[in-house]
Amino acid sequence: MRKYIFPVFIAFMLILPFLYLPVLSAAGAWKYPSLVPESWSAAHWDRLLASRDGILPVVTLSVILSGSVALLVTVTGFIFGRLLTGCSGKRQIQAAGYLAYAFSPVIYAYCLQFFFLKAGISGTIAGVIIVQFLLFFPFSVIYFISHWGRNMVSLEELCFTLGSSRRTAWRMALIPVSVPALRTAFLQIFVFSWFDFGLTQVIGQGRVSTLSLTVWQYLAEADPYIAAAGSCLLLLPPAILMLLNEKTIRFRP
């Protein structure tokens, strides 16, 4: 019996936030000290979906923005990781990559804001994509420097000696071999971007309305029910991506 208690407890603690948010979003009346709502209602969801200009454009913008950032950062990190393989300053660059995470993303955004204002991209989607790229790109490079180890370089060399051009080697060997790593990087950066608040708030200047910012606004308005409904939407795309990633890894033929 005892061997089940800890795994069940840990599993419950991990699942709790994911259970609590849908329950709160569908609660009609929920007063202390009840452990579960006394009644259920779809009113909060109706309000969320009908609120302001509608939630669908916000979700669409968030998916496009995070997808673009994740794709851009993953692809450039993959290429730069290869370019840095065998370079003498690789370790120093890898160490420098951590500098971007030495201070808060909001402070980082404020430091960069001047340049974004000068360039005229502050308050635009392009500006938010660029600032997120700047913050997440070092992570991608650090990640892919480790990926491009001796084994990957040897695979590339093997392709060459078998008669392959560089382009064919990448198309038929290196990219297919790297798919699990690329998928993991994409997923992680998508999640970073999806949940980003500070960078989007500062550089977007309130004109780029993502789902994270919208949920935050509901919280600021002290409306926990509608914020919970928004949070459920916020959790959905990363949860789907994680599930797909986990399934592909587990059921890889």
């Binding site: 084994n151 040897s154 695979l155 060399e157 093997l158 392709c159 060459f160 000696t161 078998l162 008669g163 392959s164 051009s165 064919t168 080697a169 038929m172 060997a173 297919p176 071999v177 798919v179 033929p253």
Partner: protein, 241 residues
């Protein structure tokens, strides 16, 4: 094809790895290269394959100077200690990989790969992924993949070092038989004295960035650097007991 290496020197970070190294290997021969760790054996293979550059000298394969030719066009396939099979492909696709990247049609490439599978005694493993094979089977696939592209020169860098002794012995026989049947000129780097003698139709020892080729097994055995006398002495000491 015969291979001629003339006055090759490689200096890496102030260290003379290859020092005016020269040798010639006739068509269809297998040259065993022995030598201590760090003596430059791998560097020599990489320079011949075009994966590393030399400071001086030139390399001629089949009468063509390939010193400045990229690795893709040299016809010299380099095999590593690890089999380096592609994890996203099955055994058949791994075998036909070299043909496919050269633009051969899938059907024709698969036919040739199936023939090779038979010769390697791996026909029943065609659909398996590399992680489902043993170390010896993986090396056989890697060897078959190299043979299928009909290389001018095969460069083997301790390909059996990670195998157990029984598999190793079987692989030595298979490699030698198949390379000789196809008349492929081969350079075989090894630390193992017995393996060098079994595999090589020519024997050599590398030291201080230079390669010494022996005329026959007796002259190889007579050179104390090769360790053969010590090995013979070791086994003779059992006779005395």
């Amino acid at each position: 094809m015969n291979i001629k290496v003339n006055n090759i020197s490689v200096n890496r970070s102030g260290q003379q790895v290859l020092n005016g190294l020269s040798f010639e290997l006739e068509d269809g021969h297998i040259l065993s290269v022995m030598g201590k760790s760090g003596c430059g054996k791998t560097t020599l293979l990489r320079v011949i394959a075009g994966l590393g550059s030399s400071d001086t000298g030139n390399i001629v394969i089949g009468g063509r100077d390939v010193t400045l030719v990229p690795p893709q066009e040299r016809g010299a396939v380099y095999l590593y200690q690890e089999a380096l099979l592609f994890p996203h492909l099955n055994v058949l696709d791994n075998l036909s990989f070299g043909l496919r990247i050269r633009g051969e049609h899938k059907k024709s490439a698969d036919e040739k790969a199936r023939d090779m599978l038979e010769q390697l005694d791996l026909a029943s493993h065609a659909a398996k992924k590399s992680e489902q094979l043993s170390g010896g089977q993986r090396q056989r696939v890697a060897f078959g993949r190299a043979l299928l592209v009909s290389p001018a020169v095969l460069l083997l860098d301790e390909p059996f070092s990670n195998l157990d002794s029984e598999t190793r012995a079987a692989m030595q026989q298979l490699y030698r038989k198949m390379a000789q049947e196809r008349g492929i000129t081969t350079i075989f780097v090894t630390h193992d004295l017995k393996e060098a003698v079994i595999m090589g139709s020519r024997l050599s020892y590398m030291e201080a960035g230079k390669l010494h080729l022996y005329d026959n097994l007796n002259s190889f055995a007579a050179d104390t650097r090769t360790g053969m006398q010590r090995e013979i002495g070791f086994w003779q000491s059992f006779d005395k007991k």
